[in-house]
């Protein structure tokens, strides 16, 4: 079947009962997407499906034909990190880093929908991404800084 990942077509053979997380990691060697619980509780495997965040461990690859998949591999350009990635670095919002790809995808989806989310909106919309190192305050600050920077840039124009 044909999958569109980060704007590029990928022709893959998949089993009927195969999660998108497995396909990404095991068939396409796109190892940026992590698998934690493998049952839709932790959020490390978050990717965007038609711009909506999903747990890729709970999505059968078979159901993704013709849909737009975005993973952590597609967010930075060759020379530049995505603003959300940069903010995670600046705010030191990473300890072990395992949940980070999922956190970043989740934050990107949030900021694409709400340019200036409230504290409560950030907490609610990122509540599906667990961080067992407990970096939540720094993750929150990172996401908030990207929103604030975007507004400032807009004001300067």
């Amino acid at each position: 079947m044909l999958l569109t990942i980060n704007g590029r077509p990928h022709d893959v053979h998949v089993e009927p009962f195969e999660s998108l997380a497995s396909t990404l990691r095991e068939r396409l060697q796109m190892l940026g997407t992590k698998v934690g619980c493998d049952r839709g509780e932790c959020g490390t495997c978050t990717v965007l499906l038609d711009d909506v965040p999903v747990y890729s461990c709970l999505v059968l690859t078979r159901s993704c034909e013709g849909r737009r998949i975005r993973t952590i591999e597609g967010v930075a350009t060759a020379n530049e990190l995505h603003p959300v990635q940069r903010a995670f670095v600046t705010h030191d919002a990473v300890q072990c880093g395992y949940c980070t790809p999922g956190q970043v995808m989740s934050a990107i989806a949030l900021l694409e929908q709400h340019a200036l989310p409230s504290d409560d909106e950030i907490r609610r919309s990122m509540s599906g991404n667990l961080c067992r190192c407990g970096c939540y305050p720094k993750i929150h600050a990172a996401v908030k800084s990207v929103a604030a920077a975007a507004v400032e840039a807009n004001d300067d124009r």
Partner: protein, 291 residues
């Protein structure tokens, strides 16, 4: 996760889904959002060899008014139920129950039909629907039939569905005048946590006294359970904190909780006592238009 021995079918129509389901019988499971079904394979609670994907049946998706009924298609996502202005105006407690489920990424995929058909005792939307007097609409080998929401779930992970039968809609009746609802739940966190106990209420006021009451208890019995003794105690009485406390005690006595990884049976009984009080207070406030 990859399981090798499962075949994947994508239903092209409701009739096709029913036909496939009937043919394959207990070997088949219908796949909607997959947020419960897919992990159930890992937990070895599900072993169907055929998955019949329903995602192509767009006619089962959406929320619409039909006379005195609000029809919520079985494939409507939990996120849509939670955010629907129609649900909020017909019976806000159902939207509140939907909003309590899982995390945002679970809610965007999980369906209200799935929440009923997987029939997990701690599911959030069934108690709220039972309190509202909702019915479920089924289509399959028995034709089209409608059951009371409370009669649809018959045990933990057990429903009245026969092979090849699909839940097409949850039908919410127009709520009586001077009525109000509430959904109160307790979980370890505000996000991404299963209910430890929940109480859904619908109160209909009859002037200064309580007319009809429906109290549905969640996560403290094998099925969303109507607390009949508590309701009997409330009818004909003037609402007061003391009365709600008595009703809470009745609910705690009627509940049939178990001890599991999330809580002990005793703690669940105590929760029911408190949640019932809160649910009644909010439902009465809403019925009187003061909330």
């Amino acid at each position: 996760m990859t399981l090798p021995d499962v075949a994947y079918h994508r239903a092209t129509s409701l009739a096709d889904a029913c036909r496939l389901g009937e043919q394959l019988g207990s070997e088949a499971a219908f796949l909607a959002g997959g947020t419960e079904l897919l992990p159930d394979y890992l937990r070895q609670r599900e072993s169907a060899r055929h998955l019949i994907a329903l995602d192509g049946l767009s006619e089962l998706r959406g929320i619409a008014e039909d006379g005195d009924t609000l029809v919520i298609g079985g494939l409507t996502s939990i996120a849509e139920v939670a955010g629907s202005p129609l649900v909020r105006s017909w019976f806000p407690a159902l939207a509140e129950a939907a909003r309590a489920i899982g995390s945002p990424f679970i809610r965007s995929r999980a369906t209200i039909g799935g929440n009923f058909c997987r029939a997990v005792p701690c599911a959030d939307t069934p108690p709220a629907a039972v309190a509202a007097g909702a019915r479920v609409r089924l289509v399959g080998p028995l034709g089209t039939r409608e059951l009371e929401a409370g009669d649809f779930i018959i045990g933990p992970r057990q429903t009245a569905l026969v092979a090849g039968e699909v839940l097409t809609a949850i039908a919410i009746p127009r709520q009586p005048a001077a009525s109000g609802g509430s959904y109160q739940r307790f979980a370890r966190r505000k996000g991404a946590a299963l209910a430890v106990a929940a109480v859904a209420a619908r109160v209909v006021m009859d002037g200064p006294v309580i007319g009809d009451v429906r109290l549905a208890l969640g996560a403290v019995a094998p099925v969303p359970m109507l607390a009949a003794r508590a309701a009997a105690r409330l009818r004909g009485e003037r609402p007061s904190a003391g009365l709600f406390a008595l009703a809470g005690d009745e609910c705690a006595g009627e509940a049939l909780p178990i001890t599991d990884v999330r809580a002990t049976a005793e703690f669940r009984r105590d929760l029911v006592r408190v949640l019932a009080r809160r649910a009644l207070a909010q439902a009465v406030q809403r019925a009187e238009g003061t909330a």
